[in-house]
Symmetry: C2
Subunit: 569 residues, 2 copies
């Protein structure tokens, strides 16, 4: 029986912040050393932050990343560190550097490059062709990166066949609802298949639309979870692993994935025993709605902070969407950094004002009241000639939404606040939103949260708080945009309990028209929903980014042409 103490440094890198990322890495190396770790692993592309996108096309960016890696080297006296960075020869590689005692002793290049969903890795990288097999305290270790571990015939298998007893896998695995379970199932299977121990280090933090949720893990050779890191926050997970003695494995010839194996021996003999680590509380699985809530909070906080904003401003309508966004903002930024604005028109009810104020009171935030009536009249008066002989229609509704958008942007410009928009995924999918109106802002917090899930998350927030943050009436009254008298969402759209499953089938699952009909929905309803989704792409293209929550969000993982005559019904 050999032993190894592995540290998994689940850090929150910022894209392009080489100095900041370096300092975080060096700090964790120091803490891992102090805790007696033999090896410390970092997330994928920790040095640059993930994903750096087209910054990778700047030669200077890649050089600065290499310089940063050299600066980190100096901190690796007496420990081995595995650090994600961008390697370069004629082309670029998504790489892991093995640093030991001030020397860069080995490099692994990611072999399986994802180029689907939100990923564009073939745009930047070429796949690796060789890999190091480390020996540390007599334990054989294979290093690989993210996608490499998701396939049973992938690099993990090859490395196990070559003798690896432990796999150190570096990740920047974006969150979507339920992904934690998918990862655990996959890792457990991979460990069992190959009889290897897996150390899985994930990034944490928000980067534009993506949230990385941490929850680094160690899985033993039988597929059992033996340690896991915190979710949605930085952590340094340290675990002692016991590596059973096995018959030495004869190295197989290079297989489909690898052209060569580089043997790198750090220490061939099992090391002396260490004092056991202090016990650490096990991380409980979160209910889905709480998981979503925490992803929204982290995504919003990091978008604000990493872009240099302290205060958020939100248009409060008294409805559930803006209430949820305000609650998320308070959790992300603190109540003193959130400003609500109620902007009544002649169509706003007193009920709405009361609900907006109650929400503000419950959440502890300031609320301003800025009426739009005078400005609305000025627009109508200005357009009197052009609009003579026309009837009132959606134009006047959009004007109201756009005045509100302008008022929020004016506050943003004047005071340096970031406008958070409040549209949910159901609305954004069917285009039930006004461009430059309620869509105007810097970050669209819940743009990937379907309306039915909005309700779940609100209930969860109230439950966690042990009191009503989101007012009771907000959760029970019929949704309305209040842009004309007695308007209800259900005048224009199917009820959300029907709309949301159709949208999931069409937008997320790419189901065919006939398949959706077979789910039991009305033919005309399905046609109408598909038509609305297809024809509102131009609006989504101009929407601000927001947190990816579902397996297929409305951002980089759904790339539709605007000009599109395809009709599937």
């Amino acid at each position: 029986m050999k032993t190894l103490r592995i540290a998994m440094a689940q850090i929150n890198s910022t894209v392009g912040d080489f100095a900041g990322n370096r300092d975080r890495i060096i700090d964790c190396i120091g803490r891992a050393k102090k805790a007696g770790a033999d090896i410390v692993a970092f997330p994928e592309l920790t040095v640059t932050g993930y994903p750096p996108e087209d910054l990778l096309l700047k030669p200077q960016f890649v050089k600065d990343n290499l310089r940063t890696l050299r600066e980190i080297l100096t901190a690796t006296g007496g420990i081995t560190a595995v650090v994600g960075f961008v390697d370069k020869d004629d082309v670029l590689y998504n790489a892991a550097a093995v640093l030991h005692n001030g020397r860069h002793i080995a490099t692994y290049h990611k072999i399986l490059l994802p180029n689907y969903g939100v990923f564009d890795e073939y745009r930047y990288f070429r796949p690796g062709r060789r890999y190091p097999l480390l020996t540390l305290r007599g334990v054989k270790i294979g290093v690989n990166i993210c996608e490499d571990i998701w396939f049973s015939e992938g690099p993990t298998r090859s490395q196990a066949l070559a003798g690896a007893e432990v796999i150190i896998n570096l990740n920047a695995s974006p969150y979507h609802k339920g992904k934690g379970r998918e990862r655990l199932t996959m890792l457990s299977e991979r460990a069992k298949q190959n009889n290897v121990i897996i150390s899985y280090t994930n990034a944490v933090g928000g980067q534009d639309e993506l949230v990385f949720d941490g929850q680094s893990m160690v899985i033993d050779g039988k597929g059992k979870l033996i340690a896991s890191g915190n979710r949605f926050e930085e952590d340094l997970l340290i675990a002692d692993i016991k590596v059973p003695d096995r018959k030495p494995v004869v190295h197989k010839a290079a297989d489909q994935h690898f052209e060569a194996i580089d043997q790198v021996v750090i220490s061939a003999k099992a090391g002396p025993k260490k004092k056991p680590l202090p016990a650490r509380k096990a991380v409980m699985a979160l209910p889905l709605c709480e998981e979503v809530y925490r992803a929204l909070v982290l995504g919003t906080r990091d978008y604000m902070q990493k872009n240099g904003f302290r205060t958020a401003v939100i248009g409060l309508s008294g409805g559930i969407d803006s209430s949820l966004v305000a609650a998320v903002a308070v959790a992300a930024l603190g109540k003193e950094n959130v400003v609500g604005v109620f902007m009544p028109s002649q169509y706003s009810s007193n009920e709405s004002r009361d609900d907006a104020c109650e929400l503000a009171r419950n959440a502890g935030i300031t609320v301003l009241e800025i009426p739009i009536v005078q400005t609305f009249d000025a627009y109508l008066n200005t357009l009197r000639c052009e609009f003579s002989r026309t009837r009132q229609d959606v134009t006047e509704e959009n004007l109201q939404a756009r005045i509100r958008g302008n008022l929020l942007m004016a506050l943003s410009n004047k005071f340096g606040w970031l406008v958070l928009t409040t549209g949910n995924k159901s609305e954004m999918s069917v285009g039930y939103a006004t461009l430059y109106g309620d869509m105007a802002g810097g970050f669209a917090v819940i743009k990937d949260v379907p309306k039915t899930l909005v309700y779940d998350v609100c209930r969860c927030i109230n439950k966690l708080a042990g009191k009503a943050i989101i007012p009771k009436r907000v959760m029970t009254k019929a949704p309305t945009a209040e842009l004309r008298p007695n308007q209800k969402d259900s005048d224009s759209l199917p009820v959300y309990s029907v709309l949301d499953p159709i949208l999931k089938a069409y937008v997320e699952d790419n189901k065919e028209f006939r398949e959706i009909l077979k789910m039991g929905f009305d033919r005309n309803t399905v046609k109408r929903v598909i038509h609305l989704v297809d024809t509102s792409e131009y609006k989504r293209r101009q929407a601000p980014p927001g947190v990816k929550i579902t397996p297929r969000g409305l951002g980089k993982d759904r790339r539709f042409p605007i000009t599109n005559r395809y009709k599937s019904y």
Copy 2:
């Protein structure tokens, strides 16, 4: 000496319009037959339109494309047609079908899949591994697709080694300024290297940000251009090619690109002589500024028409950008379908009004005057409390721009007009534009045209018209946004003759800071420009699409994170 009559059907497909695309294809097959062509070639992915993007992830879309291909089959009696479509087994291929006499006799799968710039082909397709070698009237023909011909060690070489005398290459090659010359140079080299005749069929038309510029070509085995199709419009180019007799080539074993060669013999013997084709005027190369102008016109016309819009509305400021956009719109849509709107504030000069009106008169379009003063006052009055104790700043400037944006959008909503925005590439690069203000609209015609090129194109328009369409004074006065008294662009930005080359170096060429300094620019100016570009990504993300004109536009070919702390200076 063998002969072959090849038709190149340079058609304007619309993405997803299977019925429309099918009808165009069948029509061209008929015309090619009538002209006595032996074979007719279509652009890449003609059946679906290019690029279909994530429509390809819908199984139903791929099936509908296969059904459409079967419908086309029936039209191929007595001729051979090579048609771009999506093929499918377990995965998808960017494919060319060889159809003959009502039978689908062979299929080629694109081997080199571009995944850079605007291209994402690895997201959808897998590379091909085998290819057909056709024999038609005794001539050996290799088929390949777009990227396949750009590399000297690519499929063209392999096919030539296997005996191909003619290469039929299908393309959807997006336009950028000067690309016609690049293509001709490359094709000429490829033909000479391999001693093959190349028939190059390109798509034509606009699709969101892309314009395909046609100019299909035939190059002889010595690299000489022997025929070319029209630029920026549909065409059926028909050419008689003479294939010199050669010693038969022994087929080489499968090389790096191919696993197998399929011999497909349509007719083994040279056919009888045909009556020569009527002479066709040679296409002259266009001056660069005219080329850009025609790309803008085609891109704008197709975006409007393919999305079902007839009339465009444009905010006219009396400046050069809006004047150019109006001139382009008139050329694209007809003067009766273009409406100009002059929206004066207290800061607007009489000169601006005169210039806007003169432009409208010259271009023959209606102009509305809708002042913004009353609405501006209403906003300021509404925000009086919140803005007390603050000073006038960019907030008030943005408000004016946003009122104008709202007025245009109100006209758009009321009358079904599409708003064309007027920002140029220089402004969009440094963020000298107001989100939801002058950036509000459906199509950003000149968003990839640097300001200095705006002037060139305007001069070109006046020259082509033989009179001033763009008023003289508009071309000579200092650019201003007129959002405060006596404002000039040069108060906030370096002069455009300095700004544009810095932007080209930084944005298009990804040059390092030091390299840009070496070009002779002032250190602080370069720093400031880089800072402005880096920090305005959030604006560009919410901008409407516009015609790609340069090798690296601001749309899908430049993918930067918004959250980005990288500083290269």
